[in-house]
Structure formats: structure tokens, C-alpha cells
């Protein structure tokens, strides 16, 4: 059924169109002058000014590997992160810890641990799934490179980015 749309009744000033134009011009000029005089600042001039200080605690940047306060690598090469990683960015080659090491009861360690930063989607599932608290998403967001090979971060680089994390649960303590 057809029905009639009621049109709004316009006042004479509204129909004359010009007052509305003047109002609009005043608004845009206001914005222009505010930005021009520097009273209002919206844009952050990126490379000079950064947002790093305001990054929230839960910010998900580049995934990295961490060591504990003893300088021991926490990853035990269980490969859970490799399996859960949605874009399959993680590649781990596990190896056996030799008998003379004091950490030999851990049994495994990653011989190679690579994260392809081009594939990584920063979802944080690797951090969530890790039973050893070994992989963490840090606050690095400007991850760039000139070639694809350069963007595959190896174990050494991941440890450099991750650094030392203190206060983690010490599961493989020798006294336990």
C-alpha cells in the first residue's frame, strides 16, 4: 500500500538556503582556524612523535621469545604454537637436550625457531597456548624489511626482541 511521506515544513529562512550556507561556512572556518592556530591538535606527526607511551598493556605487537631471570630459554619445543598459529607463521625444529646439561630433564629445546613476520597476524594465540610462558607479544609494531628473507626472524633475533621476562612460573626448577 502506498503511503504518503510527510515532508518537514521548512521555514522561510531554511527555504532561502543562504542562511544555511553561512552557518556551514562559519563551521568550516572555525575548524580551519582552530587547526591553523594550533589550538586543536588531532594528527600525530608519526616518525617524530610516537604513541609508544600510550600503548595499552594488552597491546599485541610482534611475537617474541623470552628468557627467564636465570638466562635460560623457556621454550621446550612442544610446537603447540606452531600448530595453533592460524597463518602458519611459526616454524620450529625441535632437538634433544644433551645429557650433561643441567636442564636435561626438560628433554627438548628448539634447535631452530622462526617466525615469518610477513605472515604473522598478531592474533596472540601463540602466547595464549604456550604452556611454558615462553612466547609473548611485545609492543614492537614497526616491523619492516627490504626482502622476504629478512622478515623471517630466527631464534637469535626473537630472543633479542623478547629479552628477559621476570616473575614467571618456574616449572623446571631443579628442586622440583
Amino acid at each position: 500500500m502506498a503511503y504518503t511521506v510527510t515532508r518537514p515544513k521548512l521555514t522561510l529562512a531554511e527555504r532561502a538556503y543562504f542562511p544555511a550556507i553561512l552557518t556551514g561556512l562559519r563551521i568550516t572556518l572555525g575548524h580551519f582556524l582552530k587547526i591553523l592556530s594550533g589550538k586543536k591538535k588531532v594528527t600525530m606527526q608519526y616518525p617524530e612523535e610516537k604513541w609508544d607511551q600510550q600503548l595499552p598493556a594488552h597491546y599485541r605487537g610482534a611475537p617474541t621469545l623470552v628468557k627467564d631471570e636465570h638466562g635460560h630459554e623457556r621454550c621446550v619445543a612442544c610446537q603447540l604454537c606452531e600448530f595453533i598459529c592460524p597463518p602458519r607463521a611459526i616454524t620450529i625444529r625441535p632437538g634433544e637436550i644433551p645429557g650433561e646439561s643441567r636442564w636435561r630433564k626438560v628433554e627438548k629445546f628448539p634447535k631452530e625457531f622462526e617466525i615469518d613476520m610477513i605472515r604473522c597476524i598478531y592474533c596472540g594465540l601463540c602466547e595464549e597456548v604456550c604452556p611454558e610462558q615462553a612466547i609473548f607479544l611485545r609492543k614492537d609494531y614497526a616491523i619492516t624489511g627490504f626482502s622476504r628473507e629478512e622478515m623471517v626472524y630466527d631464534k637469535q633475533k626473537l630472543y633479542e626482541l623478547g629479552g628477559v621476562m621476570t616473575g614467571l612460573i618456574d616449572k623446571w626448577n631443579e628442586k622440583k
Binding site: I27, T28, H31, F32, I35
Partner: protein, 389 residues
């Protein structure tokens, strides 16, 4: 009678100087201003980076200059881009169109008095007695560039843009022409220099009160009181109407928002220049801005007293003295400062108003502006008939 060779040399120098020292830089910096002003209106920053790239020479930092060298970077970019000609276009007209878009607006500049005298020469390239008619005749040729581009591109959106632009320009040319008739009735001349001379003596056509009698030598109260003329204030009403009609028609004539239907990037994908790339596209772009500058220059000449600065002497008695040269430069600067202010207004309006619908555009042109301009002519004629001489 002057030596003809000398005359030719002088007008060549004026043409080249005006075109290459003033208009073309002004065109590129209007583009820059458009980007910066639009950015600031939208609470952004705009191009503020391009400066002198000292880092290329091994220094630590570039000099940004608020991005003032952006036009050079743009020009280099446009020149280096691939100049692609689609297979389906009509080649001859496709190549002709960008030239047609740029040339008419520059030709119209010939008659505009952009300064009083400089080194004893009047600062107008061609002081024609039909000045305004020349401007209208030549600037309306600009539509050929757009129509040819739209037609020769042989694709739908450019074609629609071309059709829109031809009908729009023809419609608004009428009100544009009619709205300046009151000025001719009042000034009794078509010569733009003559109109400027009238404005120097009787006040800018946009201002109702022209304060006379104040000069460096003191205030003459007799003349000052005489400047509040009731008839002139009466005349100001139709002049203001014709100013509004003229400016709005100029917006439509130069395809600026809210009348940018030939382009309308949101609905026609850029309209008539959709199929163009590289420097051919840039010529359309520059032609549009050159048309804007010429439009502003005409408005300034007709309504804002062209190069005239109030309270400054208007005739230069000793053209080669220091003050003669300075005054000549001040007049030229004043003209282009006024043009720049109007250009800012153009940009300001563009980033404030949304585009008209096509039928609204036609309705505004044919139902309102032509009638208003026509009635305005009669009002001025009646006032002039009863005005005491």
C-alpha cells in the same frame, strides 16, 4: 606613436612575465592551498613534508618548509607517469582536449588590469575596449575542452560529464552575462581599465560607502560628509545582488563545488577526465585552477577595485623613481592579494557545501538566477534614470 617593435617587445615581456612569473606558480600553489586548506577544514594536516631533501645529499635532516615544495614534487610525478592512451578513444580529439581546457582561461587574462603602471607601462597586456566581452567570449570556449574530452574518451562516465558540463556552462553563462550589465550601466564602459578608473573615483562597486577626503595631508570634512551619498547606497542594493549572482555563476562556470557535476568524482569517477593520465590529466587539472584564478581576477576587477588600495596614490608621476617602482609593485601585489583572498573563498566554499543534484542545478540557473539578474538590470536602470546627475 611608439615604435611598433618596442610595443611588441613590451607586450611580450608583460605576457611572459604575467604567465610564467605569476599565473603558473599561482596555479600550482592554488593546488597546494587547496590541499592544505581542505585538510585543515577537515581537522587534518595536509602535505607538510616536501622541502629541500638534504638527506639525499648525506645530511641528517630535510628542511620541510611546511611542504611548500609539494607542487614541484607533484609536477615531477605527473611528468614521469606513464602517458597512457586507451585503445578505444578518438585519438585526435583526445589529444586536443587538454590543450583546449588550459588555453582559454589563460587567454582571458590578457585584458585584466593587474596593476596601475610599472616603469611607465600600463599593467595590462591588451587594453581592449570590449574587455569584459572578451573575457566571457574566451572563457566560455573552455567548455570545448571538457566536451571534447568527454566525447572522444568514448566511454560512459566521461560522456556524461561532458554533457553535464556543456549544459551547465551554457545555462550559467546567461546569468553571468546578465549580472554584469548593471556595472556597465553605472560605469558606462566595457573597458576593464575604465571600470577600475570608475571604482577609484566613486568607490569599489561592492562597498556602499566610499570615504573620501582622507589622505596623507589631513582630513577634509566637507568632502568626507559628501561621501555619504543616499543615491549611491540605494544603488548598492542591486550591485550586491549582481555580485552574488556573478560569484555563484562563476562557481558554476569554473566547475567548482557545489556545481562540479562534470567531474563529480563520487558519481562519475572523475567525469570527463576519467580516461586521462599523466600530464594530459594535469593539464585539465591546471586548466581548472587557471580558470579559477581568472574568475577571481574578473571578480576582483569588477567589484573589488582591481589593483586599487584605499588611501594610497593611484597615479605614478615619476615612474623610474624609487617610490614610483615601489608603488607600482604595491599595486600589482594588491591585485594578486585580492585574487588570493577570493581563491581562499573558492576553496572554503568547496569544502563546505555538498554537490547539487542535477535538476536542482538547472532549476537554480534557469528559474532563479536569470530572472534575478534580469530584474536587477531594470532596477539599476530605474535608479539611474531618477538619480540626480
Amino acid at each position: 606613436m611608439m615604435d611598433p617593435l618596442f610595443t611588441i617587445g613590451i607586450s611580450l615581456a608583460k605576457t611572459v612575465g604575467l604567465l610564467f612569473l605569476v599565473i603558473l606558480p599561482m596555479v600550482s600553489y592554488t593546488v597546494y592551498a587547496e590541499r592544505r586548506v581542505s585538510a585543515m577544514i577537515q581537522d587534518r594536516v595536509g602535505p607538510n613534508r616536501v622541502g629541500i631533501p638534504l638527506t639525499l645529499l648525506g645530511f641528517k635532516k630535510d628542511i620541510p618548509f611546511h611542504g611548500l615544495l609539494q607542487p614541484i614534487a607533484d609536477a615531477v610525478k605527473l611528468l614521469l607517469k606513464e602517458d597512457f592512451t586507451p585503445a578505444h578513444v578518438n585519438k585526435f580529439y583526445y589529444w586536443l582536449a587538454p590543450v583546449c581546457a588550459m588555453a582559454p582561461s589563460i587567454m582571458a587574462l590578457a585584458v585584466i588590469p593587474f596593476g596601475s603602471t610599472f616603469l611607465g607601462q600600463p599593467m595590462v597586456v591588451a587594453d581592449l575596449d570590449i574587455g569584459v566581452l572578451w573575457v566571457f567570449a574566451v572563457s566560455s570556449l573552455g567548455v570545448y575542452g571538457i566536451v571534447l574530452a568527454g566525447w572522444s574518451s568514448n566511454s560512459k562516465y566521461p560522456f556524461l560529464g561532458g554533457i553535464r558540463s556543456s549544459s551547465q556552462m551554457i545555462s550559467y553563462e546567461l546569468s553571468l552575462g546578465l549580472s554584469v550589465i548593471p556595472i556597465f550601466l553605472i560605469c558606462r564602459t566595457l573597458n576593464l581599465s575604465g571600470i577600475v578608473q570608475y571604482q577609484i573615483e566613486h568607490g569599489w562597486l561592492i562597498s556602499p560607502i566610499w570615504i573620501k577626503g582622507i589622505s596623507f595631508h589631513g582630513i577634509d570634512f566637507q568632502v568626507l560628509l559628501g561621501s555619504f551619498d543616499l543615491w549611491k547606497m540605494l544603488l548598492w542594493i542591486p550591485l550586491f545582488i549582481s555580485f552574488v549572482v556573478f560569484v555563484v555563476s562563476m562557481f558554476a562556470e569554473t566547475n567548482r563545488l557545489p556545481f562540479d557535476l562534470p567531474e563529480s568524482e563520487t558519481e562519475l569517477v572523475g567525469g570527463y577526465h576519467t580516461e586521462y593520465s599523466s600530464m594530459k590529466f594535469a593539464l585539465f587539472f591546471l586548466g581548472e585552477y587557471a580558470a579559477m584564478i581568472v574568475g577571481s581576477a574578473v571578480i576582483v576587477t569588477l567589484f573589488f577595485g582591481a589593483w586599487h588600495v584605499p588611501f594610497l596614490p593611484t597615479t605614478i608621476s615619476e615612474p623610474f623613481s624609487f617610490w614610483g617602482i615601489v608603488l607600482g609593485l604595491i599595486h600589482i601585489t594588491a591585485f594578486f592579494a585580492k585574487v588570493a583572498a577570493l581563491l581562499f573563498f573558492f576553496i572554503w566554499v568547496r569544502w563546505t557545501l555538498p554537490r547539487f543534484r542535477y535538476d536542482q542545478l538547472m532549476r537554480l540557473g534557469w528559474y532563479f538566477f536569470i530572472e534575478i539578474a534580469l530584474v536587477n538590470v531594470f532596477i539599476v536602470a530605474i535608479i539611474l534614470a531618477f538619480m540626480p546627475k
